[in-house]
């Protein structure tokens, strides 16, 4: 409504390096997208929590949890797909910056989910931001991955020696258990060992965007109301590049 205060360049501050297309195409994708990227989530937040929160902005078509590519457990981001653009805009407007599972989450327009984008792009499997963090974040597996490795190395060193440094909290990522004595205790019923997903099951990401994602729309493929996905987009996201994490440069 208040076009006066809206910064038109705001949509495109961040440029996902995985997007293979021109800047204009990227902006168009964001402006028409019905996908929301959700970041800064707790590793413990479930799809159902996301559903409960985001369905308050509109009817949800799909949720894709971001997973650690090694452990196949949630690593703190997800994609929420809506049916309508209006609902997508409302989700970004009203949910970004609010609290989910005690954390301020961010919700941004996303250029569109492609298979492969559900995997963390960090070297250790999770998101890049969790590689280098030096703070202790119980909702995201404790310390950053590099710090964890260092602590682990130290502990082994010390164990061979005097064994006196037992006070370092155990922060080896054990999803489902809680990292050390920090945080708010174990969560019953939310143990990710029981929530292990069958990855092959999730390869149905490209059906039409209709609410009736069913037989009706298949009969009539000529006039999809939304543009087709760009076939040049990379299909698989397997890569060790660490510098192009989804949201690293977005601020």
């Amino acid at each position: 409504m208040a076009s006066l205060f809206k910064d038109p360049s705001k949509l495109s501050v961040y440029r996902d390096r995985r997007f293979q297309g021109t800047q204009d195409e990227f902006e168009l994708a964001l402006q028409t997208s019905t996908t929301v990227y959700v970041g800064n989530m707790s590793f413990y937040t479930t799809e159902e929590q996301v559903y409960e929160l985001f369905s308050r902005a509109g009817e949800i078509k799909k949720i894709i949890m971001g997973l650690d590519k090694n452990s196949k457990t949630p690593c703190g981001f997800c994609f929420v797909l809506y049916y309508s653009r209006e609902d997508t805009e409302d989700a970004v407007k009203y949910i970004s910056g609010t609290i989910l599972d005690d954390r301020p989450i961010r919700a941004d327009f996303d250029w569109g989910f492609q298979d492969g984008r559900q995997w963390g792009r960090g070297r250790s499997g999770g998101q890049v931001r969790d590689e280098y963090r030096t703070d202790y974040d119980p909702g995201r597996g404790g310390y950053g991955k590099l710090v964890q490795k260092e602590l682990e190395a130290q502990r082994q060193l010390v164990d061979y020696g005097t064994g006196s440094l037992g006070s370092v909290p155990s922060v080896i990522p054990q999803y489902g258990k809680h990292g050390g004595s920090h945080g708010n205790g174990p969560r019953h019923g939310r143990d990710y060992h029981n929530r292990k997903r069958y990855r092959d099951d999730d390869r149905h990401a490209h059906e039409s965007s209709k609410r009736t994602s069913d037989y009706d729309s298949r009969r009539n493929p000529d006039h999809e109301s939304r543009p087709q996905k760009n076939p040049r987009f990379r299909e698989s996201g397997d890569s060790d590049e660490e510098d192009d994490d989804d949201r690293k440069q977005r601020h």
């Binding site: 409504m1 006066l4 205060f5 809206k6 159902e48 409960e52 069913d214 009706d216 009969r219």
Partner: protein, 866 residues
């Protein structure tokens, strides 16, 4: 942003553009100086930007008015252009019925009059044009009283200008002002009192007399304006910056505004009946909605400093900020807390926001917007606002038994979401007493539903922890258990069904195709066990495989949906399927609702099956104690509605495509014709037609364009056929919904002779309901709570006891009637087209009058006939 732009934008705000000054005089002078410098070069940019500011920052209207007054002294032509453009926009807004624009521009005209840009007589002419149009509309002979909403709107706009320019008008043109006031009074005497019981927050149908005597919005505004006039038109909440420059401004040349004309309203229906009148009135109210309905939740002591007119002005400010700063969190919160008024208004602000959140039939924005606004205001005013919000919650909680059902669910959704943003901290011990109330007591149901939503947003243990101060409330938490899989292999039981289930499970794990599963069923299972048992085993097993997450569920349904539709091929089977879902997810309402919603999405079940299931005994018995059946019904209706509006949108976009395609065909054909009619030399011989290669190409183009057009036409036809079918299905849907409600209500409602009103229903005290409350309430409490329906407190040895005296069956009826009204109201636009059929088949004379009343008031239809 260039500096003149940001100065215009930020005028009146505490902002770096204006340094440390917060004095309006400084702001206007600084801004004026900048604009004056740039006017020659950037006049063409300044004009539209200034008008944009005027339209989108209406709480600054007086500042812009004064600024333009100063510009008028320097550059009359430029200001003349402003006036002309405003005239154009105002006329356009009137023609298109753009309510916000009409209202805001009229206020702007008033400010221009105050700063001598506009003659006061030309403003009065605008008022009189609106006034005479309004009077015509409500005239039985010449006009169309069904469109009173529009007439009321015009009058509201006129009255709304008086806080901004009443003082100036009375000084400059007292007689004309008096004429306008008399005109408004005359209008008020011929219009009908608006009695919108269907849209009130609280169900006080028992007090018909009270509602009759209560002022409607326009009457209320009129009385505020009258008080204003007797107080000498003095308003604290409206700044008058033009007075600071009065000496200069008088020298300006005032412009004429020119005449405007109000659009004609539709003619009254040819045959005037309850139905035709009702349809038009409903359409008019959709086009000219009332902007606010006051929600009075705080004691009047909280508003002592606020004059009646100030309340109106502050509401206008707040509603405009909410409207124009949607999506700009920072600005929205800072403008809301920084209104240019010399008194505190947190309570007023809370009442205004809650009145929007709970507004019926729907708020201007999604409820989640107001959630965000409240969160941001709590952060912006940490010392003041959270306590006010808590006060609002307590006040609404006290009156929850009378709160509209739709408002209740909005309140539940808002409150749970709000608490999730503030660590789930709430003094639950205050409400621990609901445990002593029967399970159908609205306060108890409210607490239970809030806790359920909290668990959905978080997790069970966390919420358990948050109610530590009232551990007894754990009883109201949703069950902690997971799904209910009766074919789990762990139990050691080995029935045939267990075996079938694990066989199916293995097939799914082995990635069997849906058709293989179907033939397995057809050949081995159904013949031996019958279709019902097969259905139960298949559904439970598939649900269990998809139980791990929302995505797992979708995956299973996408892959094995055909299997389910194979065994659920008629409505009865679909109902059985839904009840299997209900029993598998008995402990988890969210998953039940999601699963049913997805199944409807994949068209495995129809909305009719869902409705049939909603009326099954297992659901009917929890209507008054749980939101579970209602959530599922809401989802089904909402999805149906969404599908229809999607179809309508697609059709309108296809129609646009057709126009484009026709143009393309015409163009390609023309090019081809031109090419063919040309004579060209080929090998020295003159040949009809241009270069054959080009002709061939053009032919291909023309063919393609034609093909394209045909294909769009075909899809349009297909979509239109789908829409026709969908609308027919909608009729069946609402018929079956209302028939279902009518029949279950008739079974349970007391005879029409003994229960005419909801109040009658509430005062039927079943034996024993009062048993727990033998003590007579003290006289003082009698005064406060003299209605049986309200929870009473009585002090026994210093201990507070609470009770709720409405009996179970009566509460069941009250809740169900409340939902009938809520659904009718929400889908009124869909229901009105089928009203003749509904009248004939459901809302006949034999139906219970309370049921008919609920439907009528939801549809905002006159209840004279009941």
């Amino acid at each position: 942003m260039s500096s003149w732009k940001s100065l215009l934008l930020r005028i009146g705000d505490k902002s770096p553009e204006y340094g440390t000054s917060s004095d309006f005089k400084d702001h206007i002078e600084t801004c004026f100086a900048a604009i004056r410098r740039e006017l020659d070069h950037y006049g063409d940019e300044i004009l539209p930007f200034l008008l944009q500011c005027v339209e989108q920052l209406p709480h600054k209207t007086p500042l812009y008015g004064t600024l333009i007054g100063l510009m008028n002294l320097e550059n009359e032509d430029f200001v003349k252009k402003i006036v002309e453009q405003t005239h154009q926009s105002f006329q356009d807004a009137l023609n298109s019925g753009h309510c916000h624009k009409i209202r805001i521009l009229l206020r702007f005209l008033t400010a221009l009059m105050s700063s001598k840009v506009l003659t006061s007589t030309s403003l009065v002419v605008v008022f009189e044009t609106l006034l005479s149009s309004a009077a015509t509309i409500v005239d039985d002979e010449k006009g169309n009283p069904a469109w009173q909403a529009c007439a009321d709107f015009y009058i509201t706009c006129i009255l709304s200008c008086f806080p901004w320019g009443g003082a100036e008008l009375v000084e400059q043109v007292p007689e004309e002002l008096e004429r306008v006031m008399v005109g408004v009074e005359a209008y008020l005497s011929i219009r009908r009192h608006t009695l919108d019981t269907g849209l009130s927050f609280f169900e006080d149908d028992g007090e018909v007399e009270k509602t009759l005597n209560e002022k409607d919005f326009l009457e209320d505004l009129w009385s505020r304006i009258q008080t204003l006039s007797t107080d000498g038109w003095k308003v604290d909440s409206v700044p008058r910056p033009h007075l600071l420059f009065e000496a200069q401004l008088v020298a300006g040349k005032s412009h004429e505004f020119g005449t405007i004309s109000c659009p004609e309203q539709p003619d009254p229906p040819l045959t005037l009946s309850d139905i035709t009148y009702g349809k038009q009135k409903y359409a008019a109210e959709l086009n000219y909605p009332q902007r606010i309905r006051r929600l009075n939740i705080f004691p009047s002591s909280k508003f002592e400093d606020v004059q009646p007119i100030d309340r109106f002005v502050v509401e206008e400010y707040l509603l405009d900020v909410l409207l124009f700063f949607n999506g700009c969190r920072k600005e929205c919160a800072s403008f809301m807390v920084g209104l240019p008024v010399p008194f505190r208004y947190e309570y007023l602000m809370a009442e205004t926001i809650f009145s929007q959140l709970l507004m019926l039939p729907q708020p201007p924005f999604k409820p989640i917007y107001y959630t965000l606004v409240i969160i941001d205001l709590c952060k912006a005013l940490p010392g003041a606002f959270p306590a006010v919000v808590a006060g609002a919650v307590r006040a609404l909680f006290e009156k929850i038994a009378d709160l509209d059902m739709e408002c209740r669910i909005r309140l539940i959704l808002w409150f749970s979401h709000h608490l999730s943003n503030f660590q789930f901290i709430w003094p639950w011990d205050e409400w621990a007493h609901v445990l002593e109330l029967p399970k159908w007591a609205p306060q108890r149901v409210f607490v239970k539903e809030v806790l359920d939503r909290e668990v959905r947003l978080s997790y069970w243990d966390k919420i358990k922890q948050s109610i530590e101060t009232a551990p007894g409330l754990e009883e109201l938490l949703p069950p902690k258990g997971g799904p209910n899989f009766k074919f789990a292999t762990e139990d050691g039981e080995k029935s045939e069904q267990h075996a079938l289930s694990s066989e199916l499970c293995n097939m799914v794990k082995g990635r069997a195709a849906a058709r293989d599963v179907i033939s397995w069923l057809d050949e081995n299972v159904i013949p031996k066990h019958g279709s019902d048992i097969s259905l139960v085993v298949v559904v439970k097993t598939l649900l269990d495989i998809g139980s791990k997450s929302f995505t797992h569920l979708i995956t299973v349904l996408e892959r094995y949906g055909q299997v389910i539709s194979r065994i659920c091929d008629d409505q009865d089977k679909q109902v059985l399927l839904i009840s299997e879902v209900g029993s598998y997810w008995e402990n988890n309402t969210q998953m039940t609702a999601i699963t049913i919603d997805r199944m409807m999405g994949y068209r495995l079940i129809s909305n009719l099956s869902i409705i049939k299931w909603i009326f099954s005994p297992e659901n009917v018995e929890q209507y008054h104690t749980s939101d579970r059946p209602w959530e599922i019904l809401r989802n089904a209706l909402c999805k149906t509605y969404n599908r229809i509006s999607d179809l309508k949108k697609e059709i309108s976009s296809l129609k646009k495509d057709i126009v484009a395609a026709e143009e393309a065909v015409a163009k390609t054909q023309e090019e081809l014709n031109a090419a063919e009619s040309k004579l060209t030399l080929v090998d020295g011989e003159p040949v009809m037609g241009e270069n054959p290669v080009r002709t061939k190409r053009l032919k291909a183009y023309a063919g393609k364009a034609k093909e394209q057009e045909t294909s769009i036409r075909n899809s349009l036809e297909a979509k239109e056929a789908l829409l026709t079918r969908a609308l027919e299905e909608n009729e069946t849907l609402f018929l079956s919904l209302y028939k279902g409600f009518s029949s279950i209500l008739t079974e349970r409602l007391p005879a029409a002779s003994s229960a005419q009103t909801l109040q009658d229903l509430k005062s039927i005290n079943p034996a024993g309901a009062n048993a727990m409350d033998l003590e007579e309430p003290s006289a003082m409490e009698m005064e406060m709570d003299n209605e049986d329906s309200k929870p009473e407190k009585s002090h026994l040895n210093g201990k507070t006891e609470h009770s709720y005296t409405v009996g179970e069956n009566e509460q069941w009826c009250l809740t169900t009637l409340g939902y009938v009204k809520a659904f009718s109201r929400q889908y009124a636009s869909e229901i009105w087209p089928h009203i003749e059929k509904l009248d004939a088949e459901v809302l006949s004379e034999d139906s219970h009058p309370l049921f008919r009343k609920a439907v009528y008031s939801g549809l905002r239809r006159s209840m004279d006939s009941i």
